[in-house]
Symmetry: C2
């Protein structure tokens, strides 16, 4: 299948140019101001799919951001692949830490630098281009459907209902997703498990207005100090989460599986160096890989109270806030965990403050069977491109919608991710290596062929 | 001395109009952008003092904001009063909670509403007008000096050195200050004790950049969670501060004095209602009055980390910050306490984060003798205006410069404050009752007379 590599070589600059057009659109879904950008991104995708060879591509309104659906039905007898991706990106704060403008993509050091370079514009665009290659070369032996949403980074609040309403249209044999990472540039992997997510915001109110910290300090509960105490009490000395019932539904992973996980190439010293820490941290009795792969966690994603500007303001704040995310393992239900959190947080709040808990979003975990035809097709596709079989891994991240697809559409997903840890997704200086971009396109194109063969068996 | 009241009556609208001119200048000393406003405020004061009857009024540069010094030397044989005040104000955040614009003063419900209406523009302006009354009426029997600084709200970092450099010029028998409160509108009081202040900022660093909370969460120490734990550990279960040595220099107040303090009019239910809390809080074994009057405290004045915007961003932050103020009682040295804090905070920081502590500012506590001539003169002045003797109180607040005056100039201060608890200083909707403004002017004018008499004894 040399035509794939040849096509990429002949078109590599144009592929990048087209991706840059998408990266330039600041489609930040969590900020209401960027609503018009979501429509710009949607229209860009519509144009991209038609140009690549889709029969049709339509913009579907939802109560939130639009969904782009496109398809190419070649032969009803062919197997059907539904590609899922998202066109929205994370906010760019803190903007001052970026070395180049987040929405002005640049190539430096063999990488694409931009917000969304990896997550998920770079990775999703590989699918558009793999589709184009197979169509233009007349080699496509699958029917292809694209479903590109605009709310993944805020928990896909509307896509479940949209899928429910378009079940028939979305029928497929597999959902293909590139929104995860691989172990290393020379070590391909496929994510077999994803963590679920429960994300809440807490508000602690002390006095009904900011007070002078001298005149009132010591006699009135300070909501920032109280919030600190409440957050501190959510972990015990073994770094286990103290919410009663939190671990009840966690499936204990067998020693055999833990030994297998330990075989994955992982260097703790390199890991620490890559993120600039002196010492790792986590739940007692588990390794770093296990802590993100098979154990649930609780993290403060944001926290604020009182005066945060320059210099010293002596204030006893009225309010203190925190955004708290819990990553869940398969079999933990995010709704149950959110309820347990809320009940516990309200229970431990002392009587001299008022506490409010708001559920911001959530999603279930997911496990993919490694013996399904799509996995076998992927094995062959990666072998052609990387000369190696992909290693099945469990990601600490969450793609809440993946478990929704299974529940609503009854279709499994295959998570062929090409991102690297150094891509800094969700952070300043997000980037994506050019090599991964082109190898990803090649691997996906091969996958189309092998999936057609596997499905014939 | 009916001429005082008569003069106020004839000029009350003009007094307000002139105060409003000062209130309209947004002289926020903690924000560098407002530097030009500090000069506008200084010039406004210069003009005000000359118009009131000063022989001279000059702007003195310092490494920070300018000082205005003005004087009227009538007779070297007269006693000399040095009036200290500050022209700078606190920031106005959160601006959305103000009912009118902070720098567009308004009269509503018999009060002046503006940032600085009480602290300290409203209160300091009373001195300018009392001075004017005595001068225009030809009744002044004291020499008067004014020293108006522009950095009180950031800890007066330059005024100590400026005093040192102008010792001779500043010679006086008493320093008169109106930058504190009184117990209630019908219960005058004078602050006999002030708490000291140590104010520090802490920075906790986890990974060297913001990370994806799914991919890294559970395996990397989250600086926001760690900061919460560190802050929580600064108080024990009895709400005592855990820093070793923190209480070593605290003078144990006698039971007799504690009983006397308990005599001051205070209604806990009204106190709680006034600030909207259900239950008071504080160090075990002490009353609310004692907790702010005779006990040191530790409060978070500000705290921030990670994503604090709209919606949900799943990030494991790189950094977490807190601004922490400790209110100290007389005999506690703020430099020693700052060092103890820093040493302890660095000691309890776990090895998987980096911690930095920055000393932002501080000042010593202060006690005024209630048998000095100035106190006796004040007793008589208040008796004329309010028909009651002022109650000596201990304020929980700090005016760090007051103890500096004693050390550098060897002069005691008399803290004649006319603010009320409801004035919301340092908060949104700062205000100052018109009645307090005019009664303050009257009381201060009477004080000039009585002080001249007391000093002759």
């Amino acid at each position: 299948m040399d035509f794939i590599k040849a096509y990429i070589d002949q078109n590599k600059d144009r592929f990048l140019e087209e991706l840059f057009g998408l990266l330039r659109i600041p489609s930040v879904s969590s900020l209401a101001d960027h609503k018009p950008d979501m429509y710009r991104a949607a229209k860009y995708w519509k144009k991209t799919l038609i140009a690549a060879g889709a029969d049709k591509a339509e913009l579907y309104e939802t109560p939130g951001n639009p969904v782009i659906y496109g398809e190419k039905i070649i032969d009803p007898a062919y197997p059907t692949i539904l590609i899922y991706a998202h066109m929205d990106v994370m906010p760019v704060d803190p903007i001052n830490l970026w070395n180049s403008q987040p929405f002005e993509p640049e190539i430096r050091e063999g990488r694409i630098w931009a917000r969304g370079a990896d997550d998920d514009k770079g990775q999703s665009f590989m699918h558009a281009k793999a589709f184009e290659i197979m169509m233009k070369s007349g080699q496509m032996k699958c029917n292809i459907k694209f479903m590109i949403e605009g709310e993944e980074e805020v928990g896909s609040p509307n896509l479940g209902a949209w899928c429910e309403a378009h079940k028939e249209m979305l029928r497929a044999d597999i959902i293909l997703v590139s929104d995860t990472g691989m172990i290393a540039a020379d070590t391909p992997s496929i994510t077999a498990g994803l963590r679920g997510l429960a994300y809440l915001e807490v508000e602690v109110t002390g006095p009904d207005r900011d007070l002078h910290s001298g005149i009132f300090g010591g006699a009135v509960a300070n909501p920032a100090n109280i919030l600190a105490k409440l957050i501190a009490s959510l972990h015990d000395e073994k770094n286990r989460i103290t919410i009663p019932g939190f671990y009840d539904d966690v499936i204990v992973v067998s020693d055999t599986e833990r030994r297998a996980m330990a075989e994955a190439p992982f260097n703790l010293e390199n890991y620490k160096k890559a993120i600039g820490i002196n010492q790792e941290w986590g739940e007692e009795g588990f390794t770093t890989i296990e802590r993100t792969g098979i154990r649930p966690t609780l993290d403060v994603c944001g926290m604020w109270s009182g005066y945060t500007g320059e210099g010293a303001k002596t204030v006893l704040p009225s309010k203190a806030y925190a955004k708290i995310s819990m990553r869940l393992v398969p079999n933990q239900d995010y709704k149950k965990i959110s309820s347990l959190f809320e009940a516990y947080f309200l229970k431990i709040a002392p009587p001299y403050v008022k506490v409010k808990v708001t559920d911001l979003h959530g999603g279930q975990g997911y496990v993919a069977p490694i013996d399904m035809p799509a996995w076998k097709a992927a094995d062959k596709a990666y072998m052609e491109t990387f000369g190696k079989l992909p290693i099945p891994t469990r990601s600490g991240g969450s793609i809440p919608i993946i478990s929704t697809f299974e529940q609503v559409l009854g279709i499994k997903s295959l998570l062929m991710g090409f991102g690297l840890e150094s891509d800094a997704i969700h952070s300043p200086n997000e980037n994506f290596p050019l090599e991964n971009f082109y190898k990803g396109i090649e691997t996906i194109a091969h996958f189309y062929n092998h999936f057609a063969s596997e499905m014939k068996k």
